[in-house]
């Protein structure tokens, strides 16, 4: 029988360390088209990107059931150019719709790496933000952005379709300003992400070269 660890409310030191850990990794410095630097062509392309979001919905957790409601007649996400994509190769946006177990995280990372730049991630609900009600679960990660760069978080448990659409609109705004799409940042910061990922995924069997 292993020793039972006593755990309480984090100390201020722990909080400080956590704040360092959770410093935003993907700043605008890593991005290729900032609002200031983007030219006319990039502006037009961003307009197209903004209005054409092919979604690969990684249906984890309870948010998966919100996606059909968002896509179909009642809330009709297609009027924003949002459309389902069958495979990550065709997709622009990945939706993480709820808690992520460590087992799923491995697959999610792979799906993210198979998407083509520029690619965006939208995380649903408190579980993806800070673990939510699974904060002390042994197999559910607590903060998604330690493992993947997230563009938009949608709060709620679960967010209703209105909130989901709000999240998409926010993403469109970010795309328009050139503040979304962290594929390049992910690549440049790969060491940090890999360290975090490998801490959770014990048996790391990804190919050595980064597949994106």
């Amino acid at each position: 029988m292993s020793e039972i660890k006593s755990i309480g409310i984090p100390t201020p030191e722990e909080i400080k360390q956590a704040q360092i850990d959770f410093a935003p990794r993907c700043t605008s410095a890593g991005r290729v088209n900032d609002k200031e630097t983007q030219g006319m062509v990039e502006h037009i392309l961003n307009f197209a990107r903004k209005h054409s979001l092919f979604v690969v919905a990684y249906g984890t957790g309870c948010g998966a059931i919100e996606i059909p409601a968002t896509m179909t007649s009642r809330y009709d996400a297609e009027r924003f150019g949002i459309r389902g994509a069958a495979t990550p190769r065709q997709a622009d946006v990945m939706l993480i719709t709820g808690y992520l177990s460590t087992k799923t995280l491995k697959r999610v990372i792979r799906v993210y790496e198979q998407m083509q730049d520029p690619k965006y991630v939208i995380a649903f609900g408190s579980c993806a933000i800070n673990g939510g009600m699974y904060f002390d679960s042994y197999n559910t990660i607590n903060a998604l952005d330690r493992y993947l760069p997230v563009d938009v978080y949608i709060s709620g448990c679960m967010p209703r379709p209105e909130s989901v659409i709000k999240g998409f609109v926010k993403l469109q705004e970010l795309i328009k300003n050139g503040n979304a799409g962290n594929g390049e940042a992910y690549r440049s910061d790969l060491d940090w992400y890999r360290k975090n990922q490998q801490k959770v995924i014990k048996n790391w069997d990804f190919p050595d070269n980064y597949n994106w």
Partner: protein, 320 residues
């Protein structure tokens, strides 16, 4: 020299027209489906945005040479067929190489793209792609039979294998072939449902079960180029049907630009109305399994095709 210049310019104009109309029809289809489902739906120009976005992807993946070439085959097939189909009847700009190829050639050229793409999909190594190709080829054998029967009916009724001559005939008599041989039209129309691969014949790229089938490993510029080819192909099929059965377009007496414009409007109206048939059928139908689809094509459409041949022989005076 001037003739060649006009030909080349005309080819470009035709290509642009086919591209724009095809893309717009695709958008229109999405809009129609959305309205039928009581949704607002995407704007009509949505497909242009999708295409632009796909071409603007910063990274791309190809699974080797055939994978890289897959969209090229589609573009080749689309452009070649486009050049041999009369867009406007007797119009200098939209005539292209109409008299230089006949229906048998077009029939074979139209499968060229699918076969090329199938090869590209095959190289990706994704089992879903191969499965989609297997279904697609099987379905192809299904709908080609009634389509071919309809074409034979036309050929023997009017003693020509050239699409341009068929159009001449329709203009000369002032009667559309849909009146002359309605069964051929029915057979070809039912075959066109399979050709468009909308529901109920969309098992080839069913997103939910095959991960979009042959396209599952293509993204970015490859998918974008495929979309372009697909849009042009949709236009080609429509124009071909209009030319064969609905009298074609551009049979007006106006000269110059006005005549061309009127012809184009006529073409758009006819193709649009024709396009709505598979779209609306697709709206309200579920999905056939592959063998069901094949058996469907070998039943009623083939029956109508044979009826069309009998009708053609009767009209021709060979029998009866």
């Amino acid at each position: 020299m001037e003739g060649i210049f006009i030909k080349i310019l005309g080819a470009f104009l035709t290509a642009i027209l086919a591209f724009v109309v095809g893309m717009l029809y695709g958008g229109l289809r999405r809009k129609v489906i959305a309205r039928a489902q009581n949704r607002v739906g995407p704007p009509i120009h949505q497909n242009f945005l999708d295409l632009m976005k796909l071409q603007a992807k910063r990274t791309n993946i190809a699974h080797g040479f055939m994978g890289h070439m897959a969209p090229v085959w589609i573009i080749i097939a689309a452009m070649t067929v486009l050049m041999f189909i009369p867009i406007l009847h007797g119009n200098l700009w939209f005539e292209n190489l109409t008299m230089k190829g006949d229906l048998i050639f077009l029939l074979y050229m139209m499968v060229f793209g699918s076969l090329g793409m199938a090869l590209g999909a095959g190289q990706s190594g994704n089992p879903n792609s191969a499965m989609g190709v297997s279904r697609g080829l099987a379905q192809l054998v299904g709908f080609e039979i009634p389509f071919f029967l309809a074409l034979i009916a036309l050929m023997i009724q009017f003693n020509t294998t050239s699409i341009a001559v068929l159009m001449d005939h329709q203009e000369a008599t002032g009667r559309w072939i849909i009146v002359d041989n309605p069964f051929a039209f029915i057979a070809a129309l039912l075959a066109s449902l399979g050709m468009f691969r909308y529901a109920p014949f969309d098992i080839v790229g069913a997103p939910a079960e095959l991960a979009s089938g042959p396209r599952s490993e293509f993204g970015g510029k490859y998918l974008g180029t495929m979309m372009t080819g697909g849009a042009v192909f949709a236009f080609i099929k429509l124009v071909m049907y209009v030319d064969l059965f609905l009298g074609g377009a551009g049979n007006n007496n106006l000269e110059g630009l006005a005549g061309t414009a009127l012809g184009l409007v006529e073409l758009l109206v006819k193709t649009f109305l024709l396009y709505m048939i598979p779209v609306f059928i697709g709206l309200v139908t579920p999905r056939f399994r592959t063998e069901q689809a094949i058996q469907f094509f070998w039943k009623w459409p083939t029956f109508f095709g044979i009826l069309a041949i009998v009708w053609a022989l009767y009209k021709n005076g060979t029998i009866g």
